[in-house]
């Protein structure tokens, strides 16, 4: 019996390694096609929808010979599939053209503004997860209680409130009335020239350089937008945590853990939450991606010099290169985050781990 067990096991292991290779291949196909899809859609938006893409890039006041030259430079006289091929080549090498608004290459602009968005979204997700997960656990454990109801209402309002509106109100209350936080922007004008960031993540840079007054100022700027974004991810995370936890707490292994005499705290945190963590990783990753996207609306309100503000400014000036470049970058980050959460999922769940 144990013999047959070992035989079965080694056979299974071989099958598993074959499966692992297939999984990796499938993974690559998924990434490649998703990326191709992203490029196809942005190509469609930038080149096919506008009646004259040259007009969309140059505006309608450009002189005729400039229009002709641009048309040629953009390769618009080529057949569509060749255009798409060239478009993909350029996009993959990070060439999204020149921004009409800033006259810089779009990629240079994005490299400058993106750290601000990442810093904001990361802090927001950290806040959302640190508060959202315990709230969700509490709601699941005390199901049907007042606490559960309160968590539910917090979540529902978070799902229903327009983020830019809440941001305006928060500015009105915490900046204009209470003076608890700094005015919109990322850093005080005083430090704008004395502080030289290295990574572009100001909180990290200030800590690294031990400039405590700068750190305080940066913190006072970032805390309100980050808390707002945090609230939105909290709404999502707490709701999903609750539902995952409810599911885990019904499982038989929880009964077994109780039969072992474990305390409720250990059952909840070490057993149920550890199992719920597997799908939760995906949820937190998705909410991080959602915050990157939500930055388009919040950064405008907080004058936060990130990718969202860059995209909205470009939108208002019909700067399509910049808009599409930003879209591709956010799309790429989305794809990257999906990949990462998939990998994390595999490491967290022994059942999907290839041994």
């Amino acid at each position: 019996m144990s013999m047959s067990d070992t035989v079965r096991m080694s056979g299974r292991r071989r099958a598993r390694s074959r499966k692992a290779i297939a999984a990796v291949l499938q993974f690559l196909v998924v990434v490649a096609t998703t990326y191709l899809g992203l490029l196809a859609v942005t190509f469609f938006i930038g080149r096919v929808i506008p009646i004259d893409p040259v007009l969309a890039v140059l505006g309608d006041r450009a002189p005729q010979h400039v229009v002709e030259r641009t048309r040629e430079a953009m390769g618009l006289n080529l057949p569509l599939y060749q255009q798409f091929f060239i478009y993909c080549q350029q996009a993959l090498s990070g060439d999204f053209g020149t921004s009409v608004l800033t006259t810089n290459p779009v990629m240079t602009d994005i490299r400058r503004v993106f750290p601000a968005t990442i810093e904001l979204a990361t802090l927001g997700t950290v806040i959302g997860a640190l508060i959202g997960v315990p709230l969700g656990v509490l709601a699941a454990v005390k199901r049907g209680s007042i606490a559960d109801q309160i968590v539910r209402v917090i979540g529902l309002v978070g799902y229903s409130v327009p983020i830019f509106w809440l941001a305006l109100l928060a500015l009105l209350v915490f900046y204009a009335r209470l003076r608890w936080v700094a005015y919109p922007g990322r850093i005080d004008i005083v430090y704008e020239y004395t502080f030289s960031p290295i990574t572009g993540f100001y909180l990290v840079d200030a800590l690294w350089q031990r400039q405590w007054d700068v750190f305080r100022d940066v913190f006072r700027h970032i805390i309100l937008p980050a808390s707002l974004l945090g609230y939105f991810s909290l709404a999502y995370i707490s709701r999903m945590t609750r539902s995952f936890m409810l599911n885990e707490l019904q499982q038989e292994y929880i009964v077994a853990a109780r039969a072992k005499g474990l305390s409720e705290a250990r059952i909840i945190w070490a057993h149920a939450l550890r199992n719920a963590a597997v799908p939760l990783v995906t949820v937190i990753a998705l909410s991080y991606a959602g915050l990157l996207e939500g930055s388009v609306l919040t950064e405008t309100v907080f004058a936060w010099p990130g990718l969202g503000l860059y995209i909205t400014n470009s939108l208002q000036n019909a700067d399509m290169n910049a808009v599409l470049g930003g879209t591709i970058i956010i799309g790429s980050v989305f794809i990257g985050i999906n990949l990462l959460s998939d990998l994390l999922y595999r490491t967290l769940d022994p059942r999907t781990r290839a041994r």
Binding site: M1, E252, Y253, V255, R258, K260, G261, L262, H271, P350
Partner: protein, 277 residues
């Protein structure tokens, strides 16, 4: 024989929106260091009886009894802390299906060590050693390898042996086995049973064996309680089973096919409403 467990007039009720459902209605028995089988169909209250003794009835259920005592400790009035200390240390329970009753993201060894560390002050090395010994005791050939495996990586039979190891490692005096073999392949059922049999005998434990399989129980236990609709309809020594008086017990016995006997017409289990009164 001193009573290890005394149960008198045990009742388990579940309040629902449409009224109170009584799963267990006045069950009484005493148990020494012996093997007691509880048999019945699903919904007869046999599992809920076991869970009530463990203190694992769902929070919204009401458990009452004239007396529910383990080794002189009144379980119903015992503080939750004391009941937790008893669980796993002095009373343990084996669940039906190792596929669901082992934590899927924790290695088997860790789950065994966890029981031990909960109830005794042991160092890591000693805990590991005792867990390995326990795995060997449930006749796992290569304990060191199985120690690091996850539940999905072992077969059902091995999973159930790991479950037994996890529950017996702290040396309980009473074991409640809730359908411990019904989720297993027929071929490994007997192996798991014989391991259980050996351990119970060696350690002198009391055993409550909950099952729907009357013949299995009768071959394994000293005494059998037959439950129907939350009540005990018959208590009988396993050796006397063929002389069972209650028609329900006889019905259960007759459900078992006998090779060579005429099976026409197939017997249908008779359920008379007056038995449930």
């Amino acid at each position: 024989m001193s009573a290890l467990l005394t149960v008198e007039d045990l009742r388990v009720r579940f309040p629902t929106r449409t009224g109170v459902v009584e799963a267990v209605r006045g069950v009484s028995f005493t148990l020494g260091r012996e093997r007691l089988g509880i048999v019945g169909e699903s919904g007869s209250g046999k599992s809920q009886t076991g869970r009530a003794v463990m203190g694992l009835t769902p929070a919204h259920a009401q458990v009452t009894a004239k007396r529910l005592a383990f080794d002189g400790i009144d379980l119903l009035s015992a503080p939750p802390k004391l009941r937790r200390d008893l669980r796993g240390k002095r009373i343990a329970m084996i669940l039906q299906d190792p596929k669901y009753s082992l934590n899927p993201v924790m290695s088997i060894g860790k789950q065994i060590v966890e029981t031990l560390q909960r109830h005794e002050k042991v160092g890591r090395a000693e805990a590991r050693k005792r867990a390995l010994d326990m795995l060997a005791a449930v006749q796992i050939r290569d304990p060191a390898r199985v120690f690091d495996l996850y539940p999905h990586e072992v077969s059902g039979g091995m999973g159930q042996r790991a479950m037994i190891a996890m529950m017996l490692v702290a040396g309980p005096e009473l074991l409640i086995a809730d359908e411990p073999t019904s989720a297993l392949d027929v071929t490994v059922q007997l192996e798991v049973l014989s391991i259980l049999d050996k351990l119970v005998a060696e350690r002198g434990m009391g055993l409550i064996f909950v099952s729907h399989d009357l013949r299995l129980v009768s071959s394994f236990c000293d005494r059998v309680l037959v439950m129907y609709a939350g009540r005990i309809v018959e208590e009988i020594a396993a050796s006397e089973l063929s002389n069972a008086k209650h028609p329900y017990t006889q019905g259960l016995l007759n459900c078992m096919p006998v090779i060579g006997a005429d099976r026409h017409p197939l017997p249908v289990l008779d359920r008379k409403p007056e038995w449930a009164l």
